[in-house]
């Protein structure tokens, strides 16, 4: 019994120490694979998610930065957020709500937020490009930020083009695409076989 207990707690310690919680995405994304082996940084990251049906989500790490970000966005869109709403926003990992609906969205409970009717996506059309402002202010609150795009395999190119176009307009020309790992078919092991 003691031995089992020891093992159990050893494992527990291991898992606690290595744990990095998976942030829950508002939509399920199956990412494409690539041979690239560059790891995604954990801090100073700005994540843009593009879902299968073309919805765009945005998120940055660090609660304080999110706090500053929503204040700036509120100023820009002349929306007054209560302290409670700002607090709620600062714990969101990723969000995809047009600014006009943001106060309402923040008042929702956690379960309601994941309901399909509340997952709308950030508008990034040329007429109403909120993504551009999110990017602009996110860059202001964190100049070191790196941009990572996570897209679903089935995401259609026009949406991606819109997002890439927005990035280019904002002069963000270096960014990362999040992918799964795949073996390099030209690595020595496979080459020598041929």
């Amino acid at each position: 019994m003691t031995a089992m207990c020891d093992v159990a707690f050893l494992l527990l310690t291991f898992f606690i120490l290595t744990a990095k919680f998976a942030s829950q995405d508002p939509v399920t994304i199956s990412i494409p694979t690539s041979i690239s082996e560059i790891k995604i940084p954990e801090v100073d990251i700005c994540k843009i998610i593009i879902s299968k049906d073309g919805k765009v989500f945005f998120g940055i790490d660090n609660q304080e930065k999110r706090d500053q970000l929503i204040r700036k966005m509120g100023e820009k869109y002349k929306i007054k957020f209560s302290d409670k709403q700002i607090k709620k926003f600062s714990v969101l990992d990723i969000w995809g709500t047009p600014m006009q609906l943001m106060p309402k969205y923040l008042d929702l409970s956690n379960e309601q937020r994941f309901k399909p009717e509340n997952i709308i996506g950030i508008p990034c059309d040329s007429t109403n490009n909120e993504l551009a402002f999110w990017l602009q202010f996110a860059r202001e609150v964190n100049p070191k930020m790196k941009i990572a795009i996570k897209g679903d395999q089935q995401t259609q190119y026009p949406v991606l083009k819109k997002v890439l176009g927005t990035l280019q307009d904002r002069n963000e020309n270096r960014f990362n695409l999040i992918t799964g790992l795949e073996a390099n078919p030209l690595d020595d092991a496979t080459v020598t076989k041929k």
Partner: protein, 204 residues
């Protein structure tokens, strides 16, 4: 829950000194331990996802930085619907259209073409990689040298154009092929009507 069981059994050592045997029931603690383990195992992400770095040209000073590329070095890849890829070499010259070819993302498809086109660079990179594995050169020299090789004048320039029907997977796949085939000079360009017309004949 911890129970302290005094040895109250009368059969045992009656005459011996009355020892207070402390026995703690550990079952609930172990239960909790395993419960927590299960919880952590299910919630953690052990492997971080990989990323692929790309840099796009900036939109602003595009005009003065525009580089004319040699038609003989240029290759255009068009990403089509249903995982189709089209490619052609060069551009329209002397009223003669380039001939587009239809292929796919398999190793025998676009990769073979790219490897053939980029043969000299691939060989050079392979040589460098061998030197690296033999520890003749360091990782840094490998990186800088391979960058020079990849951007050499003789290396092909690949223009990637995606049709609206193509998917993100296609996009990542083709960028991945660029990496696999050691192509250093490639650009993501908007598709033109000319390209659309060109592939219309074979896209069926």
């Amino acid at each position: 829950m911890a129970e302290i069981s005094e040895s109250s059994d009368k059969k045992g050592k009656k005459k011996g000194a009355k020892k207070l045997a402390t026995h703690i029931d550990m079952t609930p603690m172990v239960d909790l331990g395993f419960l927590l383990i299960t919880f952590f195992m299910l919630t953690i992400t052990l492997s971080k996802p990989q990323t692929m770095e790309i840099s796009m040209p900036s939109k602003e000073n595009n005009d003065d930085k525009k580089t004319a590329i040699k038609a003989s070095k240029a290759m255009t890849i068009i990403l089509g619907q249903k995982d189709r890829v089209f490619y052609y070499f060069g551009t329209r010259e002397k009223e003669v259209d380039p001939v587009p070819v239809k292929t796919d993302y398999s190793p025998e498809g676009i990769r073979k073409v790219l490897l053939a086109k980029n043969d000299s660079v691939v060989k050079a990179i392979k040589g460098l990689r061998k030197q690296l594995s033999d520890q003749k050169i360091t990782q840094d020299t490998f990186k800088s040298k391979s960058r020079i090789v990849k951007n050499s004048r003789n290396a092909p320039i690949v223009l990637i154009k995606a049709l609206d029907e193509s998917t993100f997977k296609n996009f990542v796949d083709i960028l991945d092929e660029m990496q696999i085939c050691s192509i250093g000079r490639f650009a993501i360009v908007d598709i033109t009507q000319y390209d659309k017309d060109l592939i219309k004949t074979i896209d069926n």
